[in-house]
Symmetry: C2
């Protein structure tokens, strides 16, 4: 990147890290091994030190590991999760990995918290169902999913196979119709110690925090979720069109 | 949350923090002040200690501040950025905040890095344009945007008002047609020290890292970006439908 020769090395390293991250998540290094420092430097017209600093950034992010004699390898494949249609995790990753669920809580709630009742558009004090699952992908923790469900559908979900299946499918079976749409808000936060322990990451590591409100086909809310996702294992993807009205 | 009475306080605190975060980002506390601890405890059926721990989590995230005698207030409004259609930042925030841009680099690049040339689908060794802008919203840093553009359009963008306008609009004016679509990948990472300094946050704070490849209406790539966004100031939002084929 000779056009940035006059810039601080840290900035050139960041730029190089950006390009490498994009290549890694696109699967450009098919066998999971990155070229050596000299080769990367040549490819990017960057100094050996800038290359080293870029690789240090990616190692900090948990994306790569560097071992003497072995070189630089991609630590974990990053799975893409589409943000352009509503899918459950297992459904989304069909054929790409095996999802299992550790059911931590699955219980009826006599009275939903007021904010949750409002979000689900049920009367204050209404009962519901709470489900908390730690989700594993190929034997490593991927996400911690917590759901509050409306009472009727929720009870049917409790009777379903929460260990083996996506909640969305269980809802659809209970409702007898496909889900409608969901509103999703994506945050990035530093993992609190409790969440970090469950997800097998360092406290403070960046994680996605998703809030998702899912509606039945007739528009009634049925499921409000908070989801923590390991950001070193998952990328959220979308394809955006320029024209047309917003879908909300 | 009496249905979780038997669970560790840290877990009840996390749950409470999830609900509060959702309310805060939805603007539920119109004057920016949260109810006091006692009131929150009553609302959620949670102990005073669990409430305190939940508020501590949200303070760690940079979402709220707590001051003796003043109480708990929302630190910064979190802006929503839609992930369901392709918009520039200023365009997206029209009427909600004032975007200004600090142009850090805006220059022709004699030869694009090989990975960038491949992504832009131009021949190896082709020239292009590099633009780096620190974007401010209402007087505080919001994001660091870096773009590689193809040569022809890029030169026209260099001649445009990069301080005052979205690059998308400048591209469209140069091309004479609206943009087509963009592929976006969203990561969450811990800010490296250099990025943290530019964005005015602590090193290690969780930030969004977006990669976006934007195409002209005829499908040709024109702009490949890496964007770091302060996650304490922005939430990414989408509405997802259940049915229909993926749009890619």
């Amino acid at each position: 990147m000779d056009h940035h020769g006059g810039r601080p090395r840290a900035e050139r390293a960041r730029q190089l890290a950006d390009v490498l991250r994009q290549q890694i998540t696109d699967g450009a290094f098919a066998d999971g091994t990155l070229p050596d420092e000299r080769d990367l430097g040549r490819r990017f017209g960057a100094s050996r030190n800038a290359v080293r600093e870029a690789l240090a950034l990616l190692r900090e992010e948990g994306l790569i590991t560097r071992r003497r004699g072995v070189g630089t390898t991609v630590l974990l494949p990053k799975y893409g999760h589409g943000l352009d249609r509503l899918t459950g995790l297992a459904e989304e990753l069909t054929g790409r990995g095996t999802v299992t669920n550790e059911v931590r809580v699955a219980a009826e709630v006599p009275a939903l918290p007021a904010a949750i009742a409002a979000r689900l558009e049920v009367p204050a004090g209404a009962g519901g169902v709470y489900v908390e699952r730690l989700r594993w992908l190929d034997g490593l923790p991927l996400s911690l999913d917590t759901s509050y469900l409306t009472a009727g559908i929720g009870r049917a979900v409790l009777a379903g196979d929460l260990r083996g299946r996506d909640v969305f499918r269980l809802i659809e079976e209970a409702a007898g119709v496909p889900l409608g749409r969901a509103e999703v808000a994506v945050h990035a936060v530093n993992a609190d110690p409790g969440t970090a322990r469950l997800l097998g990451i360092e406290p403070g590591a960046a994680v996605f925090a998703l809030e998702r409100l899912t509606r039945l086909a007739d528009g009634r809310p049925v499921d409000t979720e908070s989801i923590r996702i390991r950001a070193d294992r998952m990328t959220l993807r979308a394809t955006l069109g320029r024209g047309g009205p917003r879908t909300t």
